[in-house]
């Protein structure tokens, strides 16, 4: 054992400095400048889009009053969301993702873990704070154009709001991690505050949510209220307490997080949605149960429909968190449907997206086939046929999920018409399943895409299509509700919902056809490309022969 414990952390500082020097020495400055250039273009594009969306028309007195009264609650949802995400991340070992060798060699060495971890934590906080302050200041600059108050006040207050949100999220994560908060408790506390904030937005009869106090900061230029100081103090306290206790981070969670976060970042850069989902589940310990909820299914050897039964075997092993997630997504979709019905058309996007995300869980048996192509290709039936056979189970699951969404949308004041929901639920479920299936079966973009090499001008359109099309199909499922909202003269809401359902049904049919024949079309394309290549090479060879 060393003579004195802990071993001084200056050893770690020495090594980190040496490694940084090596990294800096290896940087290709042209590449770095190119990246800065790309980031600059992206920032300019975002600013341009935002300025177009926000506009610079001055608000009237009623508009300003609405921002003063409703703004804090809306912005409070962002603060509550950051707090919720932070607590959840911390309960899984976040917010830090230290290097795997650091976990093994540094955190297992007799050094002060707090001192070893505070440096990386402060660097991460510094970066997040810098990005947040910049974003907040930019938002404040836009806001300042529409309000009579001094623009600088808006820039400062919105930057302060963004910093507070980051402090709440990062501090909550540090606190949850250092106190080893159980995941269920993090979900309960964070989820409770989030729901309270959403309810605060939705209804004036709900008492002001705690997170709305953070929103007060953003509207300080209209009216200074000292309540806004409270979340700033809370955020600072969370960060300070979290940093003080950072040494108590769980090595088990830190190691798992380290391995998964690295892969997750790589999958995100590849736009590999399926891998992102699988890794995110592992990160959240959202793993199938060893024993199914119900064991009454017949043995696979005796099943008449093995794919159907295989699907249910997977579904019946879903863990509680996944079931709760589907319930929450159904509730979000239901509330959004109600908003669409009452005139807020853009809410069809969260409704469709919530059900699309739920369907990405529901199509797990199909996705498993894409994860194991070796097994899939060993079955004596076409890939597309196998995939189509996998669709009924997720469709049934999603009918249940949309049923819950419909129940949320169809109960209480300003509820969606029951007959519209009855007509629209099944198409909505089908559209979400097909959207999810298409996104999984599209897979990762190929490193070398011959179509794009042949026609590079379609590269952008293809990338957008790949990204947008699957959720778009799910959003299209809301069409029956949207069309039934304001039926033209001579038509009833039910008629219009039926027409919408037919349109959705047609799209679902097309997508099912794509699921069935996509693999065949890909194969045909590869063979045709190869044949064309062979022919071209043959011609070249003939031309070269004198």
């Amino acid at each position: 054992m060393p003579d004195a414990l802990p071993v001084p952390v200056s050893v770690i500082g020495d090594l980190r400095r040496a490694r940084r020097r090596q990294r800096v020495a290896k940087i290709h400055w042209i590449d770095a400048l190119y990246q800065v250039y790309l980031v600059g273009i992206a920032v300019v594009a975002v600013v341009a889009v935002l300025s177009t969306v926000i506009g610079d028309e001055a608000l009237d007195a009623a508009g300003i009053e609405r921002v003063r009264t409703d703004g804090p609650a809306w912005l409070g949802v962002a603060a509550a969301l950051a707090f919720f995400v932070g607590l959840r991340s911390g309960s899984r070992g976040g917010p830090l993702a230290v290097e795997a060798p650091d976990v093994r060699h540094v955190l297992m060495a007799p050094v002060d873990r707090g001192a070893a971890l505070r440096g990386p934590a402060l660097r991460q906080l510094r970066f997040a704070a810098f990005a947040a302050a910049g974003t907040g200041a930019a938002a404040g600059q836009f806001a300042g154009r529409r309000f009579p108050e001094n623009g600088l006040e808006w820039i400062l207050s919105d930057a302060a709001f963004a910093l507070t949100v980051v402090g709440l999220g990062f501090g909550a994560a540090l606190l949850a991690s250092s106190r080893r908060l159980p995941s269920w408790l993090a979900t309960l506390v964070g989820g409770g505050l989030l729901v309270w904030s959403v309810a605060d937005v939705a209804s004036s009869s709900v008492p002001m949510a705690p997170a709305s106090a953070a929103g007060v900061i953003a509207v300080w230029p209209i009216e200074f209220h000292p309540l806004g100081i409270v979340p700033i103090v809370v955020a600072a306290a969370l960060v300070a307490i979290g940093l003080a206790g950072i040494a108590h981070v769980s090595l088990e969670k830190a190691e798992r997080r380290t391995a998964l976060v690295g892969q997750l970042r790589f999958a995100v850069t590849l736009q590999d949605l399926r891998t992102v989902m699988v890794l995110r589940r592992q990160l959240a310990a959202d793993l199938p149960r060893s024993r199914p909820w119900v064991r009454a299914l017949r043995a696979p050897g005796r099943a008449r429909f093995p794919t159907w039964q295989r699907g249910w075997r997977g579904v019946l092993r879903w863990p509680v968190p996944r079931l709760l997630r589907l319930l929450a997504l159904a509730a979000i979709a239901g509330m959004s449907l109600r908003g669409v019905w009452n005139g807020t058309t853009p809410l069809l996007v969260p409704a469709g997206l919530a059900l699309w995300v739920a369907a990405l869980d529901a199509i797990e048996p199909l996705a498993q086939e894409t994860d194991h192509p070796g097994l899939r290709d060993g079955y004596p039936l076409a890939e597309g046929e196998l995939m189509v056979r996998h669709l009924p189970v997720p469709a049934v699951v999603m009918v249940v999920v949309t049923g819950i969404a419909a129940a949320v949308a169809g109960v209480g004041d300003r509820a969606v018409d029951a007959s519209v929901l009855a007509i629209g639920a099944v198409p909505l479920a089908a559209a979400s399943v097909l959207g999810a299936a298409v996104s999984v079966l599209m897979g990762v973009p190929k490193e070398v895409d011959e179509l794009l090499i042949a026609s590079p001008e379609i590269a952008g359109a293809k990338t957008v299509l790949r990204t947008v099309f699957p959720p778009l199909v799910a959003c299209l499922g809301v069409l029956p509700v949207l069309m039934a909202r304001n039926p033209p003269e001579g038509s009833t809401a039910t008629d219009m919902a039926g027409t919408g359902a037919l349109i959705v049904g047609f799209v679902v049919l097309l997508c099912t056809g794509w699921v069935r024949f996509a693999a065949d079309i890909r194969m045909w394309w590869v063979e045709a490309s190869q044949t064309a290549k062979d022919q071209a090479m043959g011609r070249t060879a003939e031309e070269e022969v004198p």
Partner: protein, 229 residues
Amino acid sequence: MTDEELPAVEVAELSKDYGDLVALHPLDMTVDAGGSVALIGHNGSGKSTLLRMLAGLLEPSDGDIEIAGWPVGSLEARATTSFLPDDPVLYDDLSVREHVEYVSRLHGGSGWDDYAASVVERLGLMDRVDDLPSRFSRGLRQKTSIVLGIVRPFSLLLVDEPFVGLDAGGRQAMFELLDEVRADGAAVVVATHEPAFVERVDRSVALRDGEVIFDGVARASDVLSLVGA
């Protein structure tokens, strides 16, 4: 190295589960200071889980672990324990020599010294000592990991599948290093599938499905019958 009166490892009612999956049923175990134990069992029997909990990498679901009288994970326990994993985890941008320098100093050692050089030499890494292990084969990375586990001060060595990926020379060097570590007074706990190894240790603990099914002196010929076919 260790206080002679305190066991190197003392485990009471230790268990580990992952939700509805029990990885290790409650177990009690003691390893005397300077003692040697082989953990044997099929894949999934709980050997690695037990070792990782002793190393402080996994948190017990229940029970207590003391390393030389200190709670596992404490500064003193970390200073006492060296863990050699079956999956070498190394920095991408440090050479073998830089790894040794760093890890040794993190444990209060002197960095690269004659002893480190001799261990590197015996494992056949001297020619590669200034190369990056990230570009090594699995076997060479395993050897680097062994060097890092051996060159630092410790009085309890936990080793998970030490012979996997090693060539004949590496295996022989590993056997010799383990014997020397024991001769120096350190306790050794080794999880292995190598039946012959049970005859080099004081006692063997056989695990099956997370439960101890044997704890005593074993012979190589007994291993299969102990762990089950």
